[in-house]
């Protein structure tokens, strides 16, 4: 009798633990912040992360295959001229406020987002391309473009916050949503408390597989050391964005934590030149710096080997980054000296330059990285570098006004395609990004190649055009690709947590994370 009672008790306890575990919320810690939960005015990582975990878009990136697949749309047709996209929606889609998500809601959402077009800039990723949106029938919507766009399926995907679809029933029609909206799931947004947390609950009406954890909370920490302490103390289950390189190394050795860095990262760091400003208006000077910079030393000394050197701006992942071509040369001090001698610089008449960096925006390691770069350039014996720094607001102002000749910057892609790594500094925003490449003799060639590439649907042809730009850039050197930001791809979890993988979009999918 005692045995039976014991077994019953054990089963009850086990059942109780299992039930508690199933109901216990998943706690994700981050140092990122939500700025504004508005489809028409958000343009930052964590705001988009929250929005895309609570609603869908017409298409999405498959985290396994990295191909664009249907999200709210189950299929689509593209007209032969590449100007008309007809999307066929999944039947019986609903928002969590009970309203149906059909063609009318898709048109209403996208029209509203484009009309409101907030100052933060995210809508600019879709607005110039969309001419008109029409409802064909309750589950069919037709989008007509202003110009053929080879990456339109990416632009209209859930990667872009402005492309997400939301309910006309709940979302205010004429003002920014600011957290007041209803989506299609997988989660519904329960509460957002600024600088504190975001609470989610699984939406039972989600069309896809049910989220593996019903309740999720994302807690905001002020810095990487607090985030590390929180996961070590067991206050959170997952620590994601952003851990320090040194913390990542030491956490890898901790037995009560699981730490993974999902490389390669699509986030990159690079050096830019204002090609109109002396002495950087001389391409031999820029080429010499390319040969002198020591990427390995930066990655080892500053990032403990977690970040890795890169030799092209385009991440080497195919798909979605077909056409990556590591074309920049490895370090060669003799070649650097030779080039500098050719243009009249030598030990007696050194090249005296400033290297600008911003001390906080890219984390606390920035000054160290700039110091290592300075050291590696000065190893030539022909270059003298003075480090200069400015806070982010002042830095970007000086950049836009062309005051900085050589400076460090970072890039997190707006969408996952090579053009987003090649066009911004050369043809799209050369002034605001400080390269003034519009004054370079080869500017028109870049413009023509990139214009053809972004309207070429055939990926093989497009890849060739992107390779051409990468080869050209080695001669013109508007940029020097330096390292991939792998630390942003690090995620630490408690041992009983599974599914917290970071994909090429640099994000985790909270619907796939669960605790044992």
């Amino acid at each position: 009798m005692r045995k039976i009672l014991g077994i019953v008790l054990l089963v009850m306890v086990a059942f109780g633990i299992a039930t508690f575990a199933a109901q216990a919320p998943l706690i994700i810690g981050t140092t990122d912040r939500v700025t504004e939960l508005s489809f028409a005015n958000s343009y930052d990582f964590w705001s988009w992360h929250v929005l895309r975990n609570t609603t869908g878009a017409l298409t999405k990136l498959d985290p396994q295959t990295l191909e664009i697949v249907g999200d709210l749309a189950k299929s689509w047709d593209i007209s032969s001229d590449g100007l008309v996209y007809t999307f066929h929606l999944r039947p019986n889609l609903t928002f969590w406020d009970g309203a149906p998500c059909g063609a009318a809601a898709v048109k209403w959402s996208l029209d509203r987002t484009i009309r409101l077009d907030g100052p933060n800039g995210g809508v600019g990723l879709i607005k110039p391309y969309i001419k008109q949106i029409d409802v064909v029938d309750p589950v069919t919507v037709k989008i007509t473009l202003n110009m053929p766009d080879a990456v339109f399926l990416l632009r209209i995907s859930s990667q872009i916050g402005a492309s997400l679809i939301y309910s006309p029933k709940t979302t205010p029609a004429d003002t920014f949503a600011k957290g007041v909206y209803a989506g299609t799931g997988p989660y519904k947004l329960l509460e957002y408390v600024p600088d504190q947390y975001v609470k989610y609950e699984a939406y039972a009406g989600y069309y896809g597989p049910a989220p593996k954890t019903k309740l999720v909370i994302e807690k905001m920490y002020s810095d990487a050391s607090a985030l590390r302490a929180a996961i070590e103390a067991g206050d959170i289950d997952v620590a994601f964005r952003s851990l320090n390189p040194q913390d990542i190394l030491s956490m890898e050795k901790e037995k009560n934590l699981v730490l993974k860095v999902y490389t390669p990262s699509p986030g990159i760091r690079y050096m830019l030149f204002n090609v109109s400003k002396a002495p950087f208006n001389n391409q031999f000077v820029r080429q010499a710096i390319t040969y002198a910079v020591d990427r390995n030393q930066i990655c080892q000394q500053v990032f403990s080997g977690i970040n890795t050197p890169i030799y092209t701006m385009v991440p080497n992942v195919d798909p979605p980054f077909f056409g990556a071509f590591p074309s920049f040369p490895k370090r060669d001090l003799a070649k650097a000296k030779e080039l500098l001698n050719e243009v009249g610089y030598n030990a007696a008449n050194p090249l005296v330059i400033n290297l600008w960096y911003t001390p906080k925006h890219y984390g606390s390691t920035e000054a160290d990285a700039a110091t290592v770069i300075k050291g590696s350039l000065e190893e030539t014996g022909v270059i003298k570098v003075t480090l200069q720094s400015m806070e982010w607001g002042a830095y970007t102002t000086a950049m836009g006004k062309g005051r900085m000749g050589m400076f460090l910057l970072g890039w997190y892609p707006d969408y996952l395609e090579p053009s987003n790594y090649l066009a911004p500094w050369t043809t799209e925003s050369p002034k605001s990004l400080g390269t003034y490449f519009n004054e370079d003799p080869n500017y028109e060639a870049y413009k023509e190649i990139l214009e053809v590439a972004t309207s070429t649907v055939n990926t093989t042809k497009r890849a060739k055009l992107y390779k051409a730009i990468q080869i050209l850039s080695v001669q013109d050197v508007p940029w020097i690709p330096l390292w991939a930001i792998n630390v942003q791809m690090a995620v630490a979890t408690l041992p009983n947590v599974h599914g917290a993988t970071v994909d090429i979009s640099m994000d985790i999918h909270i619907a796939q994370i669960y605790k044992e």
Binding site: R33, P119, N120, G124, A226, D235, A394, T396, E428, S429
Partner: protein, 339 residues
Amino acid sequence: MGGISRYILQRLLLTIPMLFILITLVFIVMRMMPGGPAEAMLGGRNVSLEQLAKVRHEYGLDRPLGVQYLSYMDDILHGNFKNSVLTGRPVLTELFTRFPATLELAFWGMLFALIFGFGTGIIASTQADRPIDHTIRVFHIGSFAMPLFWLGLMLQIIFAVKLGWLPVASRISGRMAFSFQSVTGFYLIDALLSGNGAIIADVAKHLILPSITLGFAQAGFLGRITRASMLEVLDADYITTARAKGVKERIVIFSHALHNALIPIVTVFGLQFAILMGGAILTETVFSWPGVAQFLVRSIDARDFHSIQGSIVFIAIFISVINLIVDVLYSVIDPRVRY
């Protein structure tokens, strides 16, 4: 109108020019700094100069400085602190959302400082120049010499990471947040109102480390002042008389001496509140405490002019009110003080 009411009114009226000067100074300093909110927000992104100009226009930053200033003053006089460029929400909403967190932390930090500062100061004064006095002196000097940032980190590592007794940071644990709804913004009051013991314990545990960190330096300072003030009073003739009359030492200390030693202590307490707000910036950062101070730091990084100006005015009003309360308290503590 009674004397005290007239005094309060006078002080409130004096606050107006002080705020006017402060707003003007902050406005000028912010505009002198290189870079603006549009550049901080969109800089480094794939946006054209035209788009940057559009944003500057949208926030009125392309108008002449004089026009911007007059417009801002006009808005403030109408109670409009404008929208935060950082979050898109009204600055006042942002401040009122975060202010309870700062006030709650400041209250418990100050309470800790009072209990420890006062207690140790009194003990030190009654045991003057004995070993216990020297030990307390080391504690006092050490407490305000210790960097607040470092102290917070050490407390986190010892009590949260190593011992696991207390949470690392924030105001409530993720597990409890689903059963908790804040009504007043003061989490401890909300927790008490909920009547849920687990939530009360959780919120209280979250308050311990930040309160100690914030109050530690103040405790040392208050302790030094209490000791000095008490020693001065303990030497007075009326204390000697009281002792000669056989009044119990406890009554001599707490009733006769302490009461008369309070004026300088209360003065320092009022001034310490301003310093406490400075300390709150570090404490809120270390403990991820979502208060006004942390919002101010983020706003400065983002060159969010509206939020910076609003936050500073808000903090200035708060400190003015605290100092006014302290001044009014004088008349309660010391009957000789009359307004």
